[in-house]
């Protein structure tokens, strides 16, 4: 889709200002029902569109993303724009700088339409934890779009953005892509700079594209990847253009099928769609290999110890002193009004929602004296064992396949009271973040619920820094 629009912009069939306005019209029309956006950047977007149009008119070269309207999850900073992470604690926060991904996109002439809804600080799997609104799944407005990048996924599939960026800590790009019928890519840890992404769990977080096709996702990745001095964990990318690796040929590629992923916990419905997808890969020339991930059953417990631990540390910055909400409720003060501790307690009590508080508390406990070894350290050890499982698996196979989620989009409110059920929604996705490998979700089928068709996503995981093979396999699947 990006290439097509680029050609039209290039040959003068359309211009960026009209295209941008068309997208704002779509938002105006649809978003009152879908509620994907939290903030629109109309002026910023139209100014950027005007600028790129001027360039195009005088025949200057422009990038594939130049003039193309996109959306950003509201946990990435756009200088001068409101950035809330869907939390009340940042309700009035105006970002004083651009995130590295935003800087890169702006340099390419990308048009940022606005900021999309998400679970508060990206903690959740349904976007219901937003402090502002509940985004709806465009395929059935009674269902969730997935999360935490639910606004981004819903915006893309309902034509309110050509593509979007999300962030993925345990599946937050892939699971909403699966629920909404889009392509979602979580790059290798370190592939994309996290500078200017509001941190949730720093050893897990990665920014990734949500798009309508694998090629679009590849085009976006090429433009946001690379080493950044402002993110000490970012890796060299070598200026690769990932879209150049989409050959449509996967003959001889070995796809691993972990026994553990297709056990009793998975419904026949999703199993059958997954097996049909695997058959298709086989027909396209791939070889299917049964593999084992022995420590897979520990993935969720490791995840829900280490992530809250990192969360509790990262969230300490929201103290009511440097930015965001600041409350010192003098009347009900137990410690004494005007005292620093009171500001901390009041600001964080009122500013954070229930899931954020729960994770901060859990992480604080797991890191506290006497429990650190039993929880955090233990989890980090088992995390190494899980990584070793993947090292062994990738000696035998090139990619690993699973469903993206154990189910299609669920109903709004269906899981909000059952914490573990909500966490289980991430069972297939957390592993890629735990071990750092890249993973992609792409549509592999659909199921019917109450006469509505709901998309189902398949997931491929690749070797560390092996995005080329991963994208090519998903692309080849999509073509056929």
């Amino acid at each position: 889709m990006i290439r097509e629009l680029h050609e039209k912009l290039k040959n003068g069939e359309i211009n960026s200002v009209d295209l941008t306005k068309k997208y704002f019209d779509e938002i105006e029309l649809k978003d009152k029902n879908i509620l994907a956006y939290l903030t629109l950047h109309k002026e910023l977007a139209l100014n950027a569109a005007q600028e790129i149009d001027k360039k195009i008119q005088v025949g200057e070269d422009f990038d594939l993303l130049g003039g193309i309207p996109m959306a950003l999850k509201d946990n990435m900073c756009v200088m001068g724009g409101r950035t809330t992470a869907a939390s009340k604690i940042l309700d009035n926060y105006i970002a004083p700088y651009d995130a590295t991904v935003v800087k890169k996109l702006r340099e390419k002439g990308a048009i940022i339409l606005g900021k999309t809804n998400m679970d508060e600080f990206a903690m959740g799997s349904s976007t219901e934890n937003s402090a502002y609104q509940k985004t709806r799944n465009p395929h059935d407005l009674n269902r969730v779009p997935g999360g935490s990048s639910g606004g981004s996924a819903a915006a893309v599939v309902s034509d309110m953005a050509v593509y979007a960026l999300g962030s993925d800590t345990g599946g937050s790009v892939r699971q909403p892509a699966s629920f909404c019928g889009a392509v979602g890519l979580k790059p290798t840890y370190g592939r994309v700079s996290r500078h200017g992404l509001l941190a949730m769990a720093s050893s897990f977080d990665q920014i990734g594209p949500i798009a309508k096709s694998v090629e679009d996702a590849a085009i976006v990745l090429s433009r946001i990847a690379g080493r950044d001095l402002k993110d000490a964990t970012s890796a060299k990318s070598g200026g690769k253009f990932y879209e150049d690796y989409l050959t449509g040929n996967i003959k001889g590629m070995k796809i691993g099928v972990p026994k553990e992923y297709f056990g009793d916990g998975l419904s026949d419905e999703i199993k059958n769609i997954s097996f049909a997808a695997l058959e298709k890969f086989k027909k396209l020339g791939a070889e299917l290999v049964e593999i084992n991930i022995p420590h897979n059953e520990y993935a969720l417990p490791i995840y829900y110890i280490t992530v809250p631990s990192e969360v509790s540390s990262n969230m300490a910055r929201f103290d009511g002193i440097r930015y965001g909400l600041s409350i010192d409720d003098q009347e009900k003060s137990k410690i004494g009004a005007g005292k620093l501790l009171e500001t901390y307690l009041d600001t964080r009590e009122i500013g954070f929602g229930p899931e954020v508080k729960r994770r901060i508390m859990l992480g604080t406990y797991a890191l506290s004296a006497g429990y650190y070894d039993a929880y955090y350290k233990k989890a980090q050890k088992v995390r190494r064992l899980l990584r070793q499982d993947f090292e062994k698996a990738f000696e035998k196979v090139d990619l690993i396949f699973s469903p993206t989620a154990p189910e299609p989009a669920f109903k709004i409110g269906e899981k909000t009271t059952d914490l573990l059920q909500m966490y289980l929604s991430d069972i297939y996705t957390v592993t890629a973040n735990l071990v750092g490998v890249p993973a992609i979700s792409f549509p592999i089928g659909e199921v019917e619920r109450e006469s509505k068709k709901l998309p189902i996503g398949g997931q491929l995981m690749g070797r560390w820094f092996g995005e080329e093979e991963l994208l090519n396999a998903a692309h080849t699947f999509e073509l056929n």
Partner: protein
């Protein structure tokens, strides 16, 4: 099951104000999740080191040079201070 005092202690460490009626809710919820973690005790990790950087990459190192903060960024930061005096963040008394 976590005790009432545990929850009060954790909330204090986490600097989160807590209402009396929330204590029981947290006792229930946190205990449920902690029970789920128990599974990890079954794994033998005697000779295993805890993991560091997940992809094994080395950190990005740069020369230690002062880079000036641009005026618009500086003012952007200052404008976000909830309470300020002479362009400096104002902090409540500690004691």
């Amino acid at each position: 099951m976590l005790k009432k005092e545990d929850i009060i202690h954790i909330a204090e460490l986490a600097r989160i104000g807590l209402k009396e009626e929330e204590i029981e809710k947290y006792q229930r919820e946190l205990s449920l999740i902690l029970d789920y973690f128990k599974k990890l005790e079954l794994v033998n990790t005697d000779k295993i080191d805890s993991i560091g950087h997940i992809t094994g990459e080395h950190s990005v190192i740069r020369d230690d040079v002062v880079i000036d903060c641009k005026e618009d960024i500086r003012m952007g930061i200052i404008n976000n201070f909830p309470d300020k005096k002479d362009n400096q963040a104002k902090v409540k008394s500690i004691l």
